[in-house]
């Protein structure tokens, strides 16, 4: 394996929970939720890594730690060998340009009162990137929307179109790494496939590194070469996509995820339902 582009080393993140005033007076410690516990993951340049697990397993928290939306309690994140958590000022801004994120809910991830044009122009202005005009047009073309969408508001777009805008926004600063937090789970099945294919195409064209968070094994195997299974904040196992596709899975938890993503199974044939008494 080549040198890691992004290295996560023994990362932990806890969230404080509410403590009753009585317990606080008694001096009891504040209860904590261990969202991510001692997770290590190494991602090579150009790789697509999936992080899978059920809801609440800490996979989104892990992704958010990577762009410093959460500050981890312990552990290290290194990007190109530099300690991400120590970055400040211009270095941190440079890091922001290199690592971008696409969120799960395209209805919540776009500023509701900005036009597509402003949504895409603002990051360029902040980071002092020239030729905003051409970049915005190119970004819209790249996500398959075209310049006709430039002066629309998010509420005038469908879920799939919004997610394309979110992808365009994430890519407009030309990042190295794209974090995808369940990018298709809020979309319906046909749009899901379109967006996944778009992401795949963008990755090939730009040589991007993907980190994709999902609960859906089918989606992850479609896009990623390698995946990490998480449960209750901890790593359960690492798998390669071919292994998963061939159902070479031993871990019980991964198996249950695999069954879950293969769809609902009817408990009984409709004809064999017991009559109501």
């Amino acid at each position: 394996m080549t040198a890691a582009l992004l290295e996560i080393d023994h990362l932990s993140k806890r969230f404080p929970l509410r403590r009753s005033t009585l317990d606080a007076l008694r001096g009891r410690p504040r209860p904590m939720l261990q969202a991510v516990h001692d997770v290590s993951l190494s991602i090579a340049r150009g790789e697509a890594v999936g992080i899978v697990g059920e809801s609440g397993c800490g996979k989104s928290t892990l992704a958010r730690c990577l762009v410093r939306l959460h500050e981890p309690d312990s552990g290290r994140i290194a990007y190109n060998g530099a300690d991400v958590l120590a970055l400040a000022g211009d270095q941190r801004r440079a890091f922001n340009r290199s690592v971008q994120m696409v969120f799960q809910d395209p209805y919540g991830s776009l500023h509701p009162r900005q036009t597509v044009d402003r949504i895409l122009a603002e990051p360029l202005a902040i980071h002092g990137v020239p030729d905003a005009e051409t970049r915005i047009e190119r970004a819209l073309d790249e996500v398959g929307l075209g310049t006709g969408f430039r002066f629309r508001y998010p509420h005038q777009l469908s879920g799939g179109q919004r997610q394309r805008i979110a992808i365009a926004r994430a890519l407009i600063l030309e990042p190295q790494i794209l974090l995808l937090d369940e990018p298709t789970s809020a979309l319906d099945a046909s749009v899901q496939a379109e967006v996944l294919n778009l992401l795949d195409a963008l990755r090939c064209r730009r040589g991007l590194t993907f980190v994709m968070v999902s609960h859906d094994l089918a989606v992850v195997t479609h896009l990623c070469e390698r995946l990490m299974v998480m449960q209750r904040g901890q790593t359960v196992e690492f798998l390669s996509a071919p292994d998963l596709a061939a159902h070479r899975v031993t871990n019980a938890y991964t198996l249950s995820l695999m069954h879950a993503s293969s769809g609902f199974k009817r408990a009984a044939e409709p004809g064999h339902l017991e009559p109501l008494s």
Binding site: R92, N96, F103, G108, S109, L110, H111, R113, A166, R169
Partner: protein, 269 residues
């Protein structure tokens, strides 16, 4: 997208337009001098010459009601703009930064809200001395809590939204996040409340005028006019009735306009 203006919104706008015209050009609209005594026509019931009747000094009530519009609209504006600016700013700051300041301000808001609004305003005006300027100060000191509470709640909702997380990941500064991203999305309910509050401010101004703590006679102000007429209510009910109707109508105008604006400002429709 074509938006249809609703009938209630148009009615509200019409009322407010008429009021603003009255406030700006009272001398053109009013048939008489509002302060001129006419001892030949004292306490005349509404008729063709005096549509709203006259008071005990023969002053034309229509003219007085029209001349009062300026003062009352001024009250609607000045008694809300102070609380809005103070409250929205505090709400934005504590909602965004949270922490101890948030807790303290929250408790302060609770504390102020436990007092009846009018009683607190009257108490402050009584200390500062009667008059409109002191009333504005008192209202600003008390009224900001409603705006702050509203703004803070809305900021907390917006703060958790993914578009803010996306903006953070893009490296936007705190100031930009707060002013360009949180504020425009959190201010809408506050502005809608503002218009409703303008109606309440007119009622408040009238109440204080009625108690002799707001506008001072002989300045015509609707509350003062209602108070003047109360002694003659059994013999000359029009003296209180018409200024009272003006208050009601203005309140209605603000409410209808506020609701209409709320619908219009919603870009998501």
């Amino acid at each position: 997208m074509k938006r249809r203006l609703s009938i209630p919104f148009l009615i509200g706008l019409t009322i407010l337009t008429v009021l603003v015209l009255c406030a700006l050009f009272p001398d053109l609209v009013a048939p008489y001098d509002p302060l001129a005594f006419d001892y030949t026509a004292m306490m005349v019931a509404p008729n063709a010459a005096h549509p709203f009747g006259t008071d005990q000094f023969g002053r034309d009530l229509l003219s007085r009601t029209i001349h009062a519009a300026g003062i009352d609209l001024q009250i609607a504006l000045f008694a809300t703009i102070g609380p809005l600016l103070i409250g929205a700013t505090i709400g934005l700051l504590v909602g965004w930064f949270g922490g101890l300041a948030d807790t303290l301000v929250g408790r302060l808001i609770d504390l102020v809200q436990t007092f009846p609004f009018l009683v607190l305003v009257i108490a402050i005006v009584a200390v500062l001395g009667p008059g409109l300027n002191n009333m504005y100060v008192a209202v600003a000191l008390v009224g900001w809590v409603f705006y702050a509470r509203l703004m803070r709640g809305e900021v907390l909702v917006q703060k958790g939204a993914d578009y803010i997380a996306a903006a953070r990941a893009l490296g936007y500064s705190q100031r930009r996040l707060m002013l360009r991203h949180i504020m425009p999305n959190a201010i809408r309910p506050v502005l809608i409340y503002l218009v409703t509050d303008m109606a309440l401010a007119i009622l408040l101004g009238s109440s204080l005028g009625y108690l002799g703590l707001g506008a001072q006679p002989p300045t015509p102000e609707w509350g003062v006019l209602v108070a003047d007429g109360k002694n003659f209510f059994t013999t000359a009910p029009w003296m209180s009735l018409f200024p009272g109707l003006a208050i009601v109508l203005t309140g209605l105008g603000f409410s209808l306009t506020g609701d209409g604006l709320a619908d219009l400002m919603d870009v998501r429709r």
